[in-house]
Amino acid sequence: MSTVAKFPERIHAASTYDLQKVRKDFPILHQTVHGKPLVYLDNAATTQKPLAVIEAIENYYRRDNSNIHRGVHTLSERATEAYEKVRAAAQKFLNAADTKEIIFVRGTTEAINLVAQTYGRKNVGSGDEVLITAMEHHSNIVPWQLLCEEKGARLRVAPINDRGELQLDEFEKLLGPKTKIVAIGHLSNALGTINPVREIVRLAHAHNIPVLVDGAQAAPRMPVDVQALDCDFYALSGHKIYGPTGIGILYGKAKLLEAMPPWQGGGDMIASVTFDKTVYNRLPYKFEAGTPNIADTIGLGAALEYLNSLGLEQIEQHEADLLAYATKSVEAIPGVRVVGTAKEKAGVLSFVMEDIHPHDIGTILDTEGIAVRTGHHCAQPVMQRFNIPATARASFGLYNTREEVDALVKGIRKVQEVLG
């Protein structure tokens, strides 16, 4: 895992990363916004797509488009092979034990809802508890609230400290016989905090409690090994790992997935159907009812291949260097305060400015061609924890440069000039 403190040692490693070549792979980056070169720093919301992804989707529709797992004709065979190849690539990407543990879903949100509605409905009952943390995205809060409401269960929330780090001792105290599942983010989208997932899993497993990890922000920023983490579920979104929207991955341990009831019914998820009885298909198809998002799955495959070609370790080092540089530069501006100062952090720099609302920061930065997110980042409880209505957030991607960080700093000074 990366730490900002290690950044001086990383300069050598980062220098092998050919940033200018990487930037050429992303057509969208080469444009001006309001007459200024685009500085895209909203990667935690969604990432841009390399040409390889755009072309993979286009080629699929031009050459191979067909329904999968059905026809005996050539196009169907090609489409099926391409689709299943991505499953194998996803297995390698996460180091899952088996391809049947990879389920294609619409995104992280759908993955979490799937687990809440199947594993959750089956295993969480009246008086039971679901444990999350105070830094979760709404998508890792609301599906559990819905479940708890339905079952008469209780949502428990492990607190975070003023740096935005999970208070592990408090977390441990909340684990007990009533806890039926733990759901935690790997990397906080609002604060950038990296959670000690391995340790969290160890603590939960000591009580035989399974752990779901929301990996939406971690997957694009660090190598993920689900077997090393020993987590039971891992969810991620394609569009945050430089792939298309509308496709994501749910990893689940086979033993758990086998025991779970299906989620949606329909074609592809069945082995046989009569009006008396339906036998469900084997994993992973049990959880993939209906014609899936084939084109975007193939686009996701191109994204995984692209990330592998650069190397997740290299990307992690590049972003650690950039975050350290950005943190130092932004903190040095008087009147600016960074929110989220965890020791283990990646990719995200949230900040507030004295007497200036984040919305106004966002508008003025936009006129400088700089795209940042302003608001509560779908994490209203995090804003409440820090007693602020919103933050401005710069979030980095594999193609961002130190020059772009300099542009951000210049932009922040412009904000102060206009509104000061």
Binding site: H34, G35, D355, I356, H357, P358, H359, D360, T363, I364, T367, T374, G375, H376, Q380, M383, P389, A390, V418, L419
Partner: protein, 150 residues
């Protein structure tokens, strides 16, 4: 640069002054109308208090937090509407809405509120400019639920 000019149009001195030192920024205990306005996308949140006597707004105030545009708009709204009848207030609301959405020219007949004409160049900020106004409308109608921009 036209963008700098647009920015100056949006963040006019008057708007910045009102956002830093808002007028009528207070709760009115005796108000007989009150409503909340909330923008769930950015967390802006205002409560508008109105005391209506004999069909006219005898006192008006607001509290809450938001960006420069939403706060200045709320502040200037309270100044503009004190003493106006409910019907007049409704008319000013409509004109103001047309102004910030670019349907009312330069707002010559809007008095001080004309400074908000620049908002029409920033469509994403229209909700900021109209938040307190929507709360005002809800308050006059006697709606109990908080109004939301979404």
């Amino acid at each position: 640069m036209s963008d700098v000019r647009e920015l100056r149009e949006l963040y006019q001195e008057v708007i910045l002054e009102h956002s830093k030192k808002p007028k009528n920024f207070r709760a009115i205990e005796t108000a007989n109308h009150k409503a909340e306005g909330f923008n769930p996308l950015c967390g802006d949140h205002f409560t508008v208090y109105i005391d209506v006597q004999g069909g006219a707004i005898s006192d008006i105030g607001f509290q809450g937090s938001g960006c420069a545009i939403s706060k200045a708009s709320a502040s200037m709204m309270t100044q503009m509407l004190k003493g106006k009848t409910e019907t007049e207030a409704e008319g000013i609301f409509t004109k103001f809405h047309d102004l910030v959405t670019g349907h009312a020219g330069d707002g010559q007949d809007m008095g001080k509120l004309a400074v908000f004409a620049g908002v029409s160049e920033f469509p994403l900020r229209v909700k900021c400019a109209t938040l307190a106004w929507h709360a005002l409308r809800a308050a006059l109608k006697g709606d109990q639920e908080a109004v939301s921009t979404e």
